[in-house]
């Protein structure tokens, strides 16, 4: 099954790398958002299946807020990525029940594992896809 994935990451290189891993795994990236506003706009437009969200975005943007928005608005789950994955930030993120929390620097295999998990979660629930963008 091909999943449609949103990447929310303010480092261009890391976003490209994630995109590469996602497409190598046979999925599609619907867009790359550099900040919360772009993330909200891209999510509204494409209704992706799930998102990779960096916990810390440019201009002080919060990835947790983005993940919360995606969950509340579209019931989307997120895979959180962070360079500061300590006990404190993990506790803050746990309430959002992310698919996975991944520390930087990550191994591609960790990302693949998380995608697998997210896709399986999608299969388990009724897939909600807009008729416009589906198929």
């Amino acid at each position: 099954m091909e999943a449609r994935i949103l990447i929310v990451e303010d480092e261009a290189l890391i976003a490209l790398h994630l995109e590469q891993i996602v497409s190598d795994a046979g999925h599609r990236v619907v867009g790359i958002a550099f900040d919360p506003a772009e993330a909200a706009a891209l999510a509204a437009k494409h209704r992706p299946d799930f998102a990779f969200v960096d916990m810390r975005l440019r201009h002080g943007g919060s990835g947790l807020d983005v993940a919360r928005h995606l969950r509340d608005m579209y019931g989307m789950s997120s895979i959180l990525v962070s360079g500061n994955l300590d006990v404190r930030s993990a506790e803050a993120a746990a309430s959002l029940m992310p698919v996975a929390m991944i520390g930087k620097p990550f191994m591609p295999s960790t990302i693949l594992g998380a995608i697998d998990l997210a896709v399986r979660r999608l299969d388990g629930s009724t897939r909600r896809r807009s008729g416009l963008f589906g198929a």
């Binding site: 290189l13 490209l16 790398h17 500061n84 300590d86 620097p105 191994m107 295999s109």
Partner: protein
């Protein structure tokens, strides 16, 4: 001078109205804003709400005693920076004063207290309070800075590994691509040590059990071989190693497991790789990477390259020794190295 001190609030606690009045008067005359309380419960509530820097606290109070009030102030992380000046007209014996100080009081004065002395002691406590809060603020700033630097390091290492991974897609020559992948894998092994740092309370050491499991899972998945054909088992004791030891160990594991994945496939059936790190009493660690492949014939040849030189040099860096065993059942590399005493990191120290 007056303007400055006028804003400083002091809490005076005494159930004896006359004594409370006297204390308040002296402090007000000295230019402080005085908050008054007549019971311990009231005092604790005011301290939590108003956070006065100094409290003048009588020992004999109805309900909870002044000494217990002091103990609670000093036990609560939110209020423990409050300076406590314990006073009493009746509990003045040495053991009373000692009990108060043991409970956390910063000083003890026997009532009646001379006006000048009360003012001077309160000012001395204010100086202490100020330098303590400056220190606390500096420490908090330093911790924040450390977190920020750590975040930057991890992010930069992520950029490095991302560039390398993106670049590896550009190779068309399979052999060149594989060589490049080796370099990427080595860099990732180092980078992933940093991913493990700072995750818990100890920022200087790495929990090797979780780390090696993660590393091996990553190598298996990245391997060009069908992962279902190789079974990799990891058995690592819960041991923490300082970063400077963890990095060479990580690179050794990376080299030997990569090599095993490539050359250790038995002609038929599943390949099995075993990685273990166990304590060797009294003070050594034993790292074993074993497989059920064809034995040393092919592996030795491969390891004559950079991989072998890296392993040998890292073993020397660890002040360890290496032995290899080859049989029909497979190939095994054993590395023994001293476990340096790791001084536990205590954030409070």
């Amino acid at each position: 001078m007056k303007m400055q001190t006028a804003q400083t609030r002091i809490l005076a606690v005494d159930d004896n109205e006359a004594a409370l009045y006297a204390t308040s008067r002296v402090l007000k005359k000295a230019g402080f804003a005085v908050i008054e309380a007549t019971t311990g419960e009231q005092a604790l509530e005011i301290i939590r709400r108003e956070r006065p820097p100094v409290v003048v606290l009588d020992v004999n109070l109805p309900g909870i005693s002044g000494i217990e009030v002091c103990r609670r102030i000093k036990q609560d992380p939110d209020t423990r920076s409050t300076m406590v000046l314990q006073t009493s007209a009746t509990s003045t014996a040495v053991h009373d004063r000692v009990e108060a100080l043991v409970a956390g009081a910063d000083t003890f004065l026997i009532e009646p207290v001379e006006q000048e002395e009360l003012e001077a002691v309160v000012r001395a406590l204010l100086r202490l309070h100020k330098s303590e809060s400056t220190l606390r603020a500096t420490l908090a700033e330093r911790n924040l800075l450390l977190r920020e630097i750590n975040h930057r390091i991890k992010n930069s290492l992520q950029l490095v590994t991302s560039i390398l991974n993106l670049q590896s897609q550009e190779f068309t020559d399979p052999q060149a691509r594989q060589r490049f992948q080796h370099a990427v894998s080595r860099v990732m092994a180092i980078a992933s040590v940093h991913e493990r740092l700072y995750q818990d309370e100890d920022p200087l050491t790495v929990a090797m059990d979780e780390y090696i499991s993660g590393l091996c899972a990553g190598l298996t998945n990245a391997s060009i071989l069908d992962p279902s054909r190789t079974n990799i088992s990891v058995e690592v004791e819960p041991v923490r190693l300082p970063t400077e030891v963890a990095v060479p160990v990580a690179l050794i594991v990376n080299e030997l497991v990569t090599n095993a994945l490539k050359y250790a496939q038995p002609p038929e059936g599943r390949g099995a790789i075993k990685v273990s790190l166990v304590r060797l009493p009294p003070d050594e660690l034993k790292l074993t990477i074993a497989d059920n492949g064809k034995g040393a014939a092919t592996e030795t040849k491969e390891q004559s390259g950079l991989g072998r030189r890296l392993v040998n040099t890292f073993v020397r860096q660890l002040a360890g020794r290496v032995a290899t065993h080859s049989s029909a059942n497979g190939y095994e590399v054993v590395i023994v190295f001293p476990e340096q005493a790791v001084t536990a990191w205590r954030p409070e120290s």
